[in-house]
Point group: C2
Chain length 164, copies 2
C-alpha cells in the first residue's frame, strides 16, 4: 500500500469536504493500481436499514474523483478535477459496511489523458467504480471527470510513475 | 403548499436517514405537482468552494425517491420504493444554497405506474429531477425508481387524488 499518498488524500478529503467527514469515509487502500474508499453502514443507513442510495452515489463519485486527481497530479502536477456526468446502477441492497473500488485505467486511456492534459491543459477521463460489500458487487458506477491544469507543465513528457 | 404532507415527509427523512440530517436537507415546497428539497451550501461545500458532487447526487436521488414514494402511497397505500438506476449531468458549479425540483409525471405515465402497482404489486417510475440555484439549472438527474406494495390494494381502482 502506498501509505503516504493514501494518508495525504484522506486528510485532504476530511479537511475540505464536510460530507466526507459526516459519512465517515476513509481512504482504506491504495497500491498505485487500485484505490478503495470505505464507509460504515451506521451513518449511511436508510429507512430500510440498508445503505442509503445517496451515500452510495457520494462514495462512488468521490472515489472516481480521487483516482482522477491522483492521475492528473502524476501527469501534470497541481490540477483541478471536476465531475461532468455519472451513471449508477444499484444491483443489491447493502447490509453492512461497504467500500468503493476504482482501478487505474488501461495504459492507452491513461496515455491519452496524460497527452491531452499536457498539450491542451485539460483532459477527460471515464472511470468505472464498483461499490462492494465484502466481495459482492452491489452497485456499478461510471463517472466522467474533467481535469485541468492552470500552469503549463514543466515537461512535455508524460511521467507514468503512478504504478511504480 | 400541501403543508401537512411536506412536514410529514420532512420529519420522516430527518428521522430515518442520518445523511439527510447531516446535509441539512429540508422539504421546502410541495403543491401536489411540484416537490422541492433544499440544501445549504455551507455543509455541502467542496474544496473548490462550490457544491460537492456527492451532495448534488444525494439531493437529486432523495427528491426523486420522495416523489415516487408519495405517488405510490396515493396509488396503493403503504409501499416501499427503491432506486434502481440514475444518470446525472453536472452543468454549472453551484455557488450558493440550492434545491432539487421534481414534477409529477404526466397522467399517462402515472396511470401506467398506478395500474402496475395495483395489478402486479410492483411498478417502475422514471423521474427527472433538476438541481437549481435560484432559477439557474445546475444539474440534470434522471432516476429510475421501483415501488412495491406488500399487501394487495383494497380496491383495483386507481385513486388519482394526488393533485386535488
Amino acid at each position: 500500500m502506498k501509505l503516504a499518498i493514501a494518508q495525504e488524500l484522506d486528510a485532504y478529503l476530511q479537511a475540505n469536504i464536510p460530507l466526507i467527514a459526516a459519512m465517515q469515509i476513509k481512504v482504506s487502500y491504495f497500491d498505485g493500481k487500485c484505490l478503495r474508499l470505505s464507509a460504515p453502514l451506521a451513518v449511511n443507513i436508510n429507512d430500510k436499514q440498508t445503505a442509503f442510495g445517496g451515500s452510495i452515489a457520494t462514495l462512488a463519485t468521490i472515489t472516481g474523483w480521487a483516482m482522477a486527481t491522483l492521475l492528473a497530479k502524476q501527469a501534470s502536477g497541481p490540477n483541478q478535477v471536476v465531475i461532468a456526468e455519472s451513471k449508477l446502477r444499484y444491483l443489491k441492497p447493502i447490509t453492512d459496511d461497504f467500500f468503493a473500488e476504482c482501478l487505474r485505467p488501461v495504459d492507452s486511456d491513461l496515455d491519452s489523458f496524460c497527452h491531452d492534459l499536457n498539450v491542451k491543459s485539460t483532459a477527460k477521463l471515464v472511470l468505472p467504480v464498483q461499490i462492494k460489500q465484502g466481495n459482492k458487487i452491489t452497485a456499478d458506477f461510471t463517472g466522467t471527470y474533467v481535469a485541468s491544469v492552470n500552469a503549463p507543465p514543466t515537461s512535455a513528457a508524460c511521467p507514468m510513475i503512478f504504478n511504480e
